[in-house]
């Protein structure tokens, strides 16, 4: 009988009899030179170190920020919610300077604020101010949207290996531009190949474009090549928006349903938040180009925004009513602010928030937040 402890039967692996030290040195040198070239190419194409990849930003970093609210020692008095327009709209440093407190960025791309607001109201004791970005129609999605599920999964707890992988990647991203998610080999092939596609093939531009860079605290800026109109990277994004815009427009009946369901969802949450001393301001975020055509065609303002903001009975600002918050700004791909305009919007929006809140509630946002009004 063979024994489990006898070594007589073990087929030992053959090792090629080569000059392994030389081979490994050649391999290492060629590898490092290739990586150096790739890093240079990445930086030349504006994929720079110090930024975090978008998916990590949109999901893992969201969870990281959201957990700050669960920390009993946290001092957060101002939270930003909404979709990508709020994410790309807010410059956190400028807002901190203007509001006198640093906002916590919890907006998430492709996702309405509904579930995120519910989580804050039901599961935390936050009693400060929430600025809620409203993107037409996306706001009325009361589910986890496109990226909310992943973000909530990260928040509720992913595997230890995913968490450690994220931490290591964040660390390395500070040094290597090529780690930018928009610079993955096959994403580049999908994005920049010049083959003519057959009719009906899946549009690769729906997956493989890059819109922004993310930094610490989820400060998110537009990726510089997208700001150039027209550029390849800008057109990729507008092509993607067009896929959605080509769908049949929302009907008046559908918009009426949206208003009702949104009011039923948000009003109790706002009441609960107010009952413990907090409050929210709704901000209809600006857009341009084909998006403006779309909301004009569907009569969004009259059929959705106005009845909805009345039903909410909360302070509300429609950026499209004020040129300095919309048409005076650069929105290069019709949906998000450029870096320059982000700074501008973050500065200009503050007095509008102050006024709309004071007009509606009869107190200042600073009284609400319990902080002194900054001297500007």
């Amino acid at each position: 009988m063979p024994s489990s402890t006898s070594s007589s039967e073990i087929p030992l692996r053959k090792i090629p009899d080569s000059q392994w030290s030389s081979i490994m040195i050649i391999a290492l040198v060629v590898f490092l030179l290739s990586m150096l070239g790739w890093e240079i190419k990445a930086r030349a194409m504006q994929h720079i170190p110090g930024t975090y990849s978008e998916v990590n930003n949109l999901e893992a970093m969201w969870a990281q920020e959201r957990r700050k609210l669960d920390d009993p020692t946290n001092q957060t008095r101002l939270v930003l919610l909404g979709s990508s327009r709020m994410l790309w709209g807010a410059d956190l440093n400028i807002m901190e300077q203007q509001f006198g407190t640093r906002p916590l960025q919890l907006a998430i791309a492709g996702t309405g604020p509904a579930l995120m607001l519910k989580g804050i109201v039901d599961d935390t004791d936050f009693d400060g101010l929430i600025l809620i970005g409203v993107t037409p129609f996306l706001f009325n999605r009361l589910d986890e949207g496109f990226l909310g599920a992943g973000a909530l999964e990260w928040y509720e707890g992913v595997s230890p290996s995913k968490r450690s992988g994220f931490a290591i990647e964040q660390f390395l991203s500070d040094y290597f531009g090529f780690l930018d998610e928009g610079f993955k080999l096959f994403q580049l092939l999908d994005r920049y190949n010049t083959f003519t596609n057959r009719e009906g093939s899946i549009p690769l531009e729906e997956n493989d474009w890059k819109l922004g860079n993310a930094y610490a605290d989820r400060q998110t800026d537009m990726w510089p090549p997208v700001e150039i109109v027209p550029s390849f990277d800008n057109t990729q994004i507008t092509n993607f928006w067009m896929a959605g815009l080509r769908r049949p427009p929302e009907t008046p009946e559908r918009m009426a349903e949206m208003v009702t369901s949104s009011a039923e969802y948000f009003v109790p949450l706002i009441e609960k938040l107010r009952a413990r001393g907090g409050d929210a301001v709704f901000i209809r975020m600006p857009d341009s180009g084909k998006y403006v055509e779309h909301v004009t065609k569907t009569n969004y303002r009259e059929l959705t925004w106005q009845p909805m903001s009345e039903a909410f009975d909360a302070p509300a600002i429609n950026c499209m009513d004020f040129p300095q918050l919309s048409t005076d700004l650069e929105i290069p791909e019709w949906s998000h602010l450029s870096r320059k305009s982000q700074d501008e919007w973050s500065r200009v929006i503050v007095p509008f928030v102050e006024k709309s809140y004071a007009d509606k509630r009869g107190q200042t946002i600073y009284e609400l937040m319990g902080i002194p009004q900054p001297q500007r």
């Binding site: 402890t5 230890p160 093939s201």
Partner: protein, 474 residues
Amino acid sequence: MLFNSLTFVVFFIIILGLHNLPFSWRAKKTNLLIGSYLFYAAWNPPFVVLLWISTMVDWFVAKKIYTEERQARRRALLTLSILVNLGFLAFFKYGNFMLENWVSLMAMIGIEWHAPSWDIILPVGISFYTFQTMAYSLDIYLKRAKPAKSFLDFALFVTFFPQLVAGPIVRPTHLIPQFAKPHVASLKQLYWGISLMILGIFQKVVIADGLLAPASDAVFNAKEQVSFLDAWLGTLAFSGQIFSDFAGYSTTAIGVALTLGFSLPNNFRFPYAAIGFSDFWQRWHISLSSWLRDYLYIPLGGNRKGPGRTYVNLMLTMLIGGLWHGASWTFVVWGGLHGIYLAVERWVSGRYGKLPIARTKLFQVFLGIITYFLVNLTWVFFRAQDFPTAWRMITSMFGFAADGAKTPLPTIYIVEVTVTISLMVATHWMMRNTSVEAVAQKAPKWLLGFILAAMAFFITITQGSGDAFIYFQF
């Protein structure tokens, strides 16, 4: 923890460092054991308890079986081991499947019953370590081996991280003796181990996930029927993806073990150059097919009980092999098709195998092409999420796609699949009767260095998205 993750890189460096420090052999093995538990816990820490239970049960049961003389008691002890191991498997892997089928069965006889939702998380790699530990008790019951002398060696055999979650399924007589004596890799073993790791991760990250998975997903996730060309390219892409994914894991596992000084057996030998299906199963997932042969087919009687029983045993083995892969009837069909292929091959080769034409090179190539074609048909059932999808794919592949069938594949995917699969099949045929080691031995050092650098470069710039290996779910 995934091999293709940054976390694993850090973990591996620490483990390798500890293994090469001047600790006692017992301390090194303890390090490996703790490391293996951490490796497994990195997915879902509570499931480590399953490993512990499995380890404890088989350790004590096997010892008892060995010393017990009475056959009835020995059988009862073996039954206990099998019940515990297969019980976990049945609950975690087949619980929902059995419940769904029970509900469907009740509905067929007119009893409407809605089962409560049963949200079971599948412990990663449970099918692999279950088979590995069962082999230990079975070997001792069948008097093929003696129990391990050291509990630490046995626990490490159950848990050894390189092959814990996706094989190769290693026999106790292969691995436990290696833990009994000090093993540290020589410099050559270390370098060759690292080379195998690079090759394995290249297969997974670049070939499986980067080049082939997008095309396969685009075709199999299409909600409507796809064209003849798309159906074939999607299936071929999946055939390459599943090979590169799984063989990539095995190669990496072998490499990791080698860097620590241990030897794991091969799990693949260029299966797409197989001539016939018994040849295919000697090249594809070798550790599973040999496990099924030794612990199922032969105990069922193998080919010793007449031709009729042989065919029944073959079919039964392959059907169970299919179900081992996943709790779905599509996997059973996949196993069933392979069972039919093997049975037909057995019958045909018994009748016509000695004809002179069967030994000509041209005929062998023809058989190889037929084998590859038929294997691809089985992959449709393996990959399709349901039978309607599989049926749509099969009808398209046989040229019966409806007018206006979808053409989801972008041109870049068509190019990627065509080039990759052509190179893969050509490589399998060129390597059919040799090994990676033999080829590497003949290659000039500058070429080997360049190939390793190129693979490492492509792995790094592909930046795997951290996709899990397909076989983890089995």
